[in-house]
Amino acid sequence: MGYTLVYTQVLEFLPYLIKGAWISLQIAILAFFGGMFFGLILATIRTFGNNISNKIVICYVTFFTNTPQLVQIYFLFFALPEFGILLSPYIAVLLGMTLNAAAYLCEIQRAGFLSIRQNELDAAKTLNFSLVQQVKYVILPHIMRVLFPPLSNHYIIMTLGTSMAAIFGVEELTGRAFNINSETFRSVEIFSITALIYIVITFIATFLLAVIGRYFFKAKIRIIQ
């Protein structure tokens, strides 16, 4: 191979890349919590709603879980201006990821609702727990325990999914790697470092989530995979 790895030149860009990683993290966190909130509303409707509202939620979830996320963001970015709604790349990506996450997180949270055990609620009622006490002592601890592992997984998937933003010109980690690449043409070095940063981000997140899950919610997660 005639290619020699030269990292010195690329390492100068490390602070620039890390700032990009910060933007990736912002998108992931905002979209995740936005998706959690919206997904919780959808899951509530789906669990307790009437026939019509149920069908609307089913359509929403089916659409967003069966079309590529990239296409969904393309639609927001390129099709909405036709209707007079102009979104910046950052907002389009954030919105697209939030809407997509809402569909997945709706299904995950709905599974949590369905896993609540009626017989524990019966016991709580006969022990005179108020509704708030039922939620606090029985429902929430159980739901968090059941939901924490799949939610953590989805958060990690979303963190990696933020690299899609580069396509729309958002200068997050991958976007910045593209920029440096077109300046220096040190592709192997740049993308290996970029990959390494992603690994570090997700590893830290996995570790923190596992610790939180195990010690606060007694979720069964292994800290080291």
Binding site: A124, T126, F129
Partner: protein, 246 residues
């Protein structure tokens, strides 16, 4: 004055008529056993007594006071005095044994945590689970969970205890242990309503036996008569079938 009196109670699960015109009164210290085939309404009757099944018509009096099932404070009063042990134990899976027993007395009845803790440990010791205080329900056998459930109910210091087929999931050796603790409670004068398929136990401890079928009370009689010379033909059919199987 009877401790519990129910008059012409009718209750439904959706459209299914599970309790039909039930009349029963139970005095303090009495042990009333409910027997009958599956689906005859025995468990539903116990559920109704703690307000998990709201009757559509009829009246219930507790210590002479009419219970309004739609009124939360009435329900609270009922549940303070009547404790139930479920067939499926219904323990809180996210709490250890000690927490399961202590949570209602400390958080709901607002009793002194230290005192509750001592009582809980004494009760768990009585049912043979002293070394399982920190275990979670999914680490225990069915029989052990059932005994935790009994301790949980007793820690509330109820006046009346409802037991819903508590020995059906236990192996024969444990049945004896559990029944022994019930016998002890009986000798202490606790009012109890027991749903059971352990006919010899029913015969031994009950003050009266109620035979139910298809949601109705068919016969109320003393334990000797109900097994030896029941008044109703349906009781005779059931009793002779059960005794033949033994």
């Amino acid at each position: 004055m009877p401790q519990i009196e129910i008059k012409s109670i009718n209750a439904f699960y959706e459209k299914l008529h599970v309790l039909k015109n039930i009349k029963l009164s139970v005095s303090k210290g009495e042990i009333v056993s409910l027997i009958g085939p599956s689906g005859s309404g025995k468990s539903s009757l116990l559920k109704m007594l703690v307000g998990l099944l709201i009757p559509k018509s009829g009246k219930m009096y507790l210590n002479g006071n009419l219970v309004n099932f739609k009124n939360q404070s009435d329900l609270r009063t009922v549940r303070e005095q009547i404790a139930i042990v479920f067939q499926q134990y219904n323990l809180f899976q996210n709490m250890n044994v000690l927490k399961n027993v202590c949570i209602a007395p400390t958080k709901i009845q607002k009793r002194n945590p230290k005192e509750v803790n001592e009582q809980a440990i004494t009760l768990l010791e009585k049912v043979g689970l002293k070394d399982k205080l920190k275990s979670y329900p999914d680490e225990l056998s069915g029989g052990q969970q059932q005994r935790v459930a009994i301790a949980r109910a007793l820690c509330l210091n109820p006046q009346i205890l409802l037991l819903d087929e508590i020995t059906s999931a236990l192996d024969p050796e444990l049945v004896k242990e559990v029944l022994d603790s019930i016998r002890l409670l009986a000798s202490e004068g606790m009012t109890m309503l027991i749903v059971s398929h352990e006919m010899s136990f029913v015969k031994e401890v009950s003050s009266r036996v109620v035979f139910m079928d298809e949601g109705s009370i068919i016969e109320i009689n003393n334990p000797k008569n109900i097994f030896e010379k029941p008044k109703e033909k349906r009781t005779l059919d059931f009793v002779s079938k059960i005794l033949k199987e033994k």
